[in-house]
């Protein structure tokens, strides 16, 4: 499309302004991680590296980080499997109840987290008599992560060339072989994108987690919440935020490249 120069300029200016506004609070977080006031006074009265040293020396923080990563990986894997199965079923077949299933898969994310959390908490504890644990968090997270994988894969499948699958079958490949050699490569980038979003959703989730985590389970967001209530610990959480943002650049960059290349 030919976009007039002025229109492009206007869009560019708006985009830059919004992105600047998006990063302003993050810059403040970055600055506060070096703020020597433990109450994050503004402007910072002085500079310190204490919070960074403390953060990396904190066993509780590292344990919480590990817990969060573990939960996010497990939840994403479950979501990848279930979401892909569902997307394959709904894209390849027409059947009764298709719409209800489509609705069912988005409900866990479309309903507010407090509803999902409350419902699962009630079901786990009072109905099933289960003790809340790490497993209950994974189950809960996987439930609302399915939709990200499902939608990504479904979108890709609807654009994928079905003739390839038919050709593969005609040439004698079984359903598993066809899936492995034809379908999987086609949906690869969708799986990466969906899986990554699922991971991110699980990693930073706090509301559903609050309702489904057992006594010993401390995820990173819960650790952060608890630290807000501890005396003089506030800036340490800024270090955590800065670090997770910086680390996340790597997977995001590769995912972006991978998605682009396969999409071409």
């Amino acid at each position: 499309m030919r976009i007039s120069r002025s229109a492009a300029l206007v869009l560019g200016v708006i985009s830059s302004a919004v992105m600047a506004a998006v990063y302003l609070p993050l810059v403040i977080v970055l600055i506060n991680s070096f703020n020597n006031s433990m109450n994050m006074d503004w402007p910072p009265p002085g500079f310190t590296l204490d919070w960074w040293v403390k953060a990396f020396g904190s066993g509780g923080l590292m344990a919480a980080l590990g817990t969060s990563v573990l939960i996010a990986i497990c939840a994403s894997v479950v979501a990848l499997i279930l979401g892909t199965l569902l997307a394959l079923a709904l894209s390849r077949y027409k059947f009764f109840g298709q719409e209800s299933i489509g609705l069912m898969v988005i409900l866990p994310i479309a309903l507010p987290g407090i509803v999902t959390g409350l419902a699962l908490n009630n079901a786990f504890r009072t109905v099933l008599g289960m003790q809340l644990s790490m497993a209950t968090v994974i189950i809960a997270h996987a439930t609302f992560c399915i939709v990200t994988v499902y939608n990504n894969v479904l979108a890709r499948l609807s654009r994928a060339n079905r003739n390839l699958e038919d050709a593969s079958a005609d040439l004698g490949a079984g359903v598993f072989t066809t899936f492995r050699l034809i379908t999987l490569p086609q949906i690869g980038s969708a799986l990466v994108a969906g899986g990554l979003l699922a991971f991110a959703l699980s990693f930073d989730e706090i509301i559903v987690t609050t309702f489904t985590a057992g006594s010993g389970v401390e995820t990173l967001p819960i650790w952060i919440l608890n630290n807000m209530f501890r005396p003089g610990k506030a800036p340490v959480v800024d270090v955590v935020a800065v670090t997770t943002v910086l680390i996340s650049v790597v997977p995001l960059y590769f995912a972006q490249r991978f998605t682009r290349e396969t999409a071409k």
């Binding site: 006031s37 433990m38 109450n39 994050m40 006074d41 503004w42 009265p45 403390k54 020396g57 904190s58 066993g59 509780g60 923080l61 344990a63 504890r125 003790q131 809340l132 057992g214 006594s215 010993g216 919440l225 608890n226 630290n227 807000m228 209530f229 501890r230 005396p231 003089g232 610990k233 506030a234």
Partner: protein, 387 residues
């Protein structure tokens, strides 16, 4: 036929005996007290306010759990909670051996049968605890002690010395005189804050007949709610965590309202604030460690209760959290001036504090001719106040 019937009856009888056996086995500890300690179970799961059981994982220098683990062999798992109410729902899951509960939760725990009476003879350090913290209505019911103290403190009045002049001496600055600081008044975000209003009414409207701010009948609660609804119009924000309160006083978003001593101490040097105990007295908290009625590790739990009231551990725990220790011997282990700042052991100061107690329908002030409003009524009232 007959034989079959007898057999069936026998089976039913056997089953019911087995079932009642199970039921009894599950609940027999409620109401009974431990006579003597057995071997430590090697494991202990605790529930408490953040900072009540630090094991060095948040700050290697802050650690009073590891010495306990070494001494007793009980491996501690600790879960912190944010509010008394969250604590209650967590404790109900039955995963915890012991809980550090404030007075607004203890009676609910006792009434619900979640905690067991304690044999204080098995807790040697209990003898050193200030007597004004023992046998109080938030830790003792029908002569049975259910909790040993962890620490205590008052909900003070903090104000910005530059903005709030003249310096207040009464809570009236956040109630009747609050409109002067419209939008900059702050208050603790919990139904239990209704007691602060009740305490104020107790002193300023004697006609209402309030004798105990935690024992309010319908009329008295309504008066407190009216007062708080009027206050709501002037409140900038309610607070429930340290950081929020500290920040809003530092930025001037709040200039007057309730606070804790530890918050006042954490303010930066340039913040112009002071915190006082107003003439009416104040509400406050005295937290107790209690043992679950079905505790899986009851011996380790007893060891912990005993340990946390030993002078050194108690000094470390209360100083870290910012509240007064429960034994005078703790002061020699705390940093200089700590016990003075927190008025530790000052019985006169302590006497002005109305410690958080769960409001229940049986009036805590001894009235028997009326039913008092219970905590669920307070919760609904608190939601209405916030609107």
């Amino acid at each position: 036929m007959k034989l079959k019937k007898v057999k069936a009856l026998a089976v039913v009888a056997a089953l019911s005996i087995a079932l009642t056996g199970c039921a009894a086995g599950a609940s027999n500890t409620a109401g009974t007290m431990l006579d003597k300690l057995g071997a430590n179970e090697k494991s202990l799961t605790l529930l408490g306010w953040p900072g009540y059981a630090e094991d060095g994982s948040n700050d290697p220098k802050v650690d009073w759990v590891t010495p306990f683990e070494k001494e007793t062999g009980c491996q501690v798992t600790f879960k912190p909670y944010g509010t008394s109410d969250e604590a209650l729902s967590l404790f109900k899951t039955g995963q915890y051996d012991a809980i550090a509960a404030s007075g607004d939760a203890t009676l609910r725990l006792i009434a619900g049968g979640s905690v067991q009476p304690l044999n204080t003879k098995l807790i040697p350090s209990y003898t050193g605890v200030y007597s004004f913290l023992k046998n109080r209505n938030w830790n003792t019911v029908d002569g049975k002690t259910y909790g040993v103290p962890h620490g205590y403190g008052a909900n003070l009045l903090m104000y910005n010395t530059k903005v709030v002049t003249p310096a207040p001496t009464s809570w009236s600055v956040v109630f009747d005189g609050a409109s002067k600081y419209k939008g900059k008044v702050t208050a603790y975000d919990s139904p239990i804050y209704i007691a602060d209003a009740a305490l104020y009414l107790m002193k300023h409207q004697p006609a209402l007949g309030i004798k105990n701010p935690y024992a309010l009948d319908d009329k008295q609660l309504a008066a407190a709610v009216t007062l708080l609804k009027a206050q709501r119009a002037n409140v900038g924000e309610y607070w429930s965590d340290y950081l929020k309160s500290i920040q809003s006083f530092e930025t001037g978003n709040s200039v007057v309202g309730t606070t804790w001593q530890v918050i006042k101490n954490s303010m930066s040097a340039k913040a112009t604030v002071d915190a006082i105990l107003p003439t009416e007295g104040a509400t406050g908290w005295s937290d107790s460690w209690m043992i679950a009625s079905n505790a899986k590790h009851v011996n380790c739990a007893y060891q912990w209760l005993s340990y946390i009231d030993t002078p050194k551990a108690n000094a470390a725990a209360t100083e870290y959290f910012g509240e007064a220790p429960v034994t005078s011997d703790a002061c020699q282990y705390a940093s200089a001036g700590f016990c003075d700042t927190y008025h530790a052991g000052d019985a006169n100061y302590a006497a002005q504090i109305w410690y958080w107690t769960t409001p229940i329908s049986k009036c805590l002030d001894g009235r028997t001719d009326v039913k008092c409003t219970d905590y669920s009524a307070w919760t609904k009232a608190w939601q209405d106040i916030k609107g």
